[in-house]
């Protein structure tokens, strides 16, 4: 398969780009931040997303979705990255939709997936507990009680946790933190007794929550997939999410880079455009090359996720690690080359820097993924 978008995928990109650049330029995020908006994103825009088939992009057609794949999800994420649009797309349409599709019972699927596709249900994956992404270190406890379980513990960063209608909670039902065996996924009503949600205002003005679980009762019906066997499903879902976040970072990097190159051509010092100084030209050229190489690595991973999901893990690790390193470089060079302007809140460039920092931590940073690759390669 050529490492290019197909014609259909290019059309999808164009329609996503049209919608997002019209309705959610960076000013949209700025406004939500400055007004301390309660949801932190636009519900109206999310309804439009659903109408255009984006909310249910990964949802199978028999459940009212578009039944598309990782490459298409990446295409949408990349456009989201260009304008930093806050959107439930990652948490609801990628992570949760994929987990429900892959692990859900017939009843769970027909209950939730159509609502995701129609934009009526927001969902969130509650996974990370510590400062760093370490899925197997999950320690939130699930103890059997009656014909169900009781959950105790806390999650540190649940993307969209403050608005979700449904939480997908990763818990430890057996084994010790660090072990692969013994993870179970639960579908939890955020309004259930014992669930406490604190919205976290983050550096990037996007949305997340800290959530604690104090003796939260769930029935056996609310187990998603196999008891103790959650790691297998979770692995594939997280890889898909990583591919999606890597795509967001490609869009973000390219946008910052485009703005920076435009500034190099426009800003004059010493009687000429600063883009004439070779010290900046070479750094810009280097950054361009990094971005192009990362773009290829990310598309490679997305295609692998569609054609051979189980074999995609190494390609995904490469993509997320590269995307993190590249975005970090792009935003740093972006601010630096804008001089004093880059440091002002009034200028958009800082928004990209903040979002890149969050994306880097989401679902594993560059170090995490490089270390994963080393382990896979046996050293």
């Amino acid at each position: 398969m050529p490492l290019l978008l197909t014609e259909e995928q290019s059309m999808l990109r164009d329609s996503a780009r049209g919608l997002i650049s019209d309705h959610a330029p960076v000013a949209h995020l700025r406004k939500l931040r400055d007004s301390r908006d309660e949801t932190g994103f636009s519900r109206e825009l999310w309804a439009t997303f659903a109408e255009m088939g984006f909310a249910g992009l990964l949802v199978p057609e028999e459940h009212g979705g578009s039944g598309l794949g990782a490459v298409e999800a990446g295409v949408v994420m990349e456009e989201i990255g260009r304008t930093l649009m806050p959107s439930p797309f990652l948490a609801t349409s990628v992570l949760s939709a994929a987990a429900l599709t892959r692990a859900g019972s017939a009843a769970q699927k027909s209950e939730h997936l159509p609502k995701i596709a129609s934009g009526k249900l927001l969902a969130a994956l509650a996974l990370d507990e510590g400062a760093k992404h370490r899925p197997l270190h999950t320690s939130l406890q699930a103890v059997r009680s009656g014909n169900g379980f009781r959950l105790n513990g806390a999650k540190a960063m649940v993307v969209d946790g403050h608005v979700a209608d449904l939480l997908l909670v990763v818990a430890r039902s057996a084994g010790a933190p660090g072990e692969r065996n013994g993870l179970t996924l639960f579908l939890v009503d955020p309004k259930a007794k014992g669930v406490a949600i604190e919205r976290t205002i983050m550096v990037d003005a996007h949305n997340a929550a800290r959530i604690s679980f104090d003796n939260v009762e769930v029935t056996a019906d609310h187990v998603l997939g196999e008891v103790d066997g959650g790691a297998a499903v979770l692995g594939g879902v997280l890889d898909l999410g990583r591919g999606a976040v890597a795509s967001e970072m490609v869009g973000l990097s390219e946008e910052v880079f485009g703005r920076t190159v435009a500034y190099l051509k426009e800003r004059k010092q010493f009687g000429k455009a600063i883009g004439e100084f070779q010290a900046l030209q070479h750094r810009a050229a280097h950054l361009y090359i990094e971005i192009e190489i990362t773009r290829a690595a990310v598309l490679k991973a997305l295609q692998a996720l569609d054609s051979d999901p189980a074999g995609a893990t190494a390609a995904v690790a490469v993509a997320k690690a590269r995307a993190g390193a590249t975005a970090t470089r792009a935003v740093q060079e972006g601010v630096q080359m804008h001089g004093g302007m880059g440091m002002t809140d009034q200028f958009d460039i800082g928004f990209f820097m903040k979002r890149a920092r969050v994306c880097e931590e989401l679902l594993g940073d560059a170090n995490y993924h490089a270390a994963q690759l080393a382990a896979m390669r046996g050293y």
Partner: protein
């Protein structure tokens, strides 16, 4: 699609039956490379068999037209041959500047007579070529070259000096840049010309490299007579041919960083350094460097694949080979720094059978030229800044 699947199956079976096992092992010394040419020597019987079988199949250059001794394959098929060769670690049957550099330029700019004269001898490995571009005062600023070609009836008389001419002392023919119009602006008076290295007035003098080898020469031209018919492309428009050829040269050099069939770097390191109880390389910082390298190497491989696909779809940027040349060569230097670090004291031996006559340190030193030959890294970044980013004054 079904046709391609069949083609892949047949290719795999053919390679399986025809590639000798010795030709599937990673190369360890210069001897392992077969260059062809009038004085060509095979270093082993399997090397000869492998070359001849590939030559007879047309697969020394699978994608060139069959009338010139190529395989006549289209882009997809040629990619399959590359992939299947890589899958079994098959060595290139021949390494040749005729294939990687001159051939593409002849196919685009050569006359039919020139193609018929030269291409079949390239695919059959009969003539070995060298590249006469650089001069003592024309390196990065190649277009300031001074080697003169003066008209004399149907011939040119060539005088001047080239430098860094790789393997000039072994080459049969040279493709050379000469100044045919000294009055014109520097890019406008250059021609691209071919001649036999045994012509009267050609002499070479090897230069010793830091790796202890002499792969290149100073090359002198003293009243060398060359027919005007040997000019490729239009007289005084040789710069176009030169640049087009450089794109191919850069693509080739950027590919030198590819690991091919050899073992992952981290395992090579673990062989000499050892691993801890969790199976991790017993040098945490080196492990981190190698892991980051592996990430970048895999990403570069994807970019190389994408570059080919973009070109095929007519969406490639002609200057992108400069981007790949820059990244690929810098990455290859990193690989060899890591290999040296991985080998530690054992990688320092310069003369012994045990060390294959210092293969590792010599290879390490040789890679330092990758970011110089074919245009330096700084020149590549300048090309990207100018031609792709359109930055002012670049």
């Amino acid at each position: 699609m079904a046709d391609l699947d069949t083609f892949r199956r047949e290719t795999r079976a053919w390679l399986e039956a025809n590639c000798p096992p010795e030709m599937r092992r990673p190369m360890t010394s210069d001897e392992d490379t077969f260059w062809g040419g009038r004085n060509a020597k095979f270093s082993s019987e399997p090397q000869r068999i492998w070359f001849e079988r590939m030559r007879d199949k047309g697969w020394t250059v699978p994608h060139w037209p069959t009338e010139y001794g190529g395989g006549g394959l289209d882009g997809e098929e040629a990619k399959i041959v590359r992939q299947e060769m890589a899958a079994i670690g098959a060595r290139a049957p021949i390494t040749s500047f005729g294939i990687s550099m001159l051939g593409p330029a002849l196919l685009k700019y050569g006359t039919e007579a020139q193609k018929r004269e030269h291409l079949p001898k390239i695919t059959a490995g009969l003539i070995r070529w060298c590249q006469g571009y650089s001069e003592p005062n024309a390196g990065s600023d190649l277009a300031s070259l001074q080697t003169r070609a003066e008209s004399d009836g149907d011939d040119y008389i060539i005088n001047g000096q080239k430098i860094w001419t790789s393997y000039a002392n072994y080459a049969d023919w040279i493709f050379c840049l000469v100044r045919t119009d000294p009055a014109a602006k520097k890019h406008d008076g250059i021609s691209f010309i071919l001649f036999d290295m045994t012509s009267k007035g050609v002499s070479t003098k090897p230069i010793l490299l830091i790796s202890g080898r002499s792969p290149f020469c100073e090359t002198f031209f003293d009243n060398v007579r060359v027919p005007k018919a040997n000019v490729v492309g239009t007289v005084n428009r040789g710069w176009d041919v030169a640049k087009y050829l450089l794109q191919h040269e850069r693509a080739m050099i950027s590919g030198m960083g590819e690991r091919g069939g050899s073992r992952p770097l981290g395992q090579v390191a673990a062989d000499s350094i050892g691993s801890d109880a969790q199976g991790r390389l017993d040098d945490a910082l080196l492990r981190a460097d190698i892991a980051t390298f592996d990430v970048d190497e895999a990403a570069l491989a994807a970019a190389a694949e994408r570059m080919v696909d973009l070109a095929k779809a007519g969406q490639g940027h002609p200057a992108f080979s400069s981007a790949m040349k820059y990244y690929g060569t810098e990455l290859n230097k990193r690989r060899h720094e890591l290999l040296m670090s991985s080998g530690g004291i054992d990688a320092l031996e310069w003369e012994s059978e045990r060390s294959h006559e210092g293969a590792r340190p010599r290879a390490w030193l040789r890679t330092k030229a990758n970011s110089i030959e074919g245009g330096t890294s700084e020149v590549m970044l300048g090309i990207v800044a100018k031609r792709i980013l359109d930055l002012p004054g670049a």
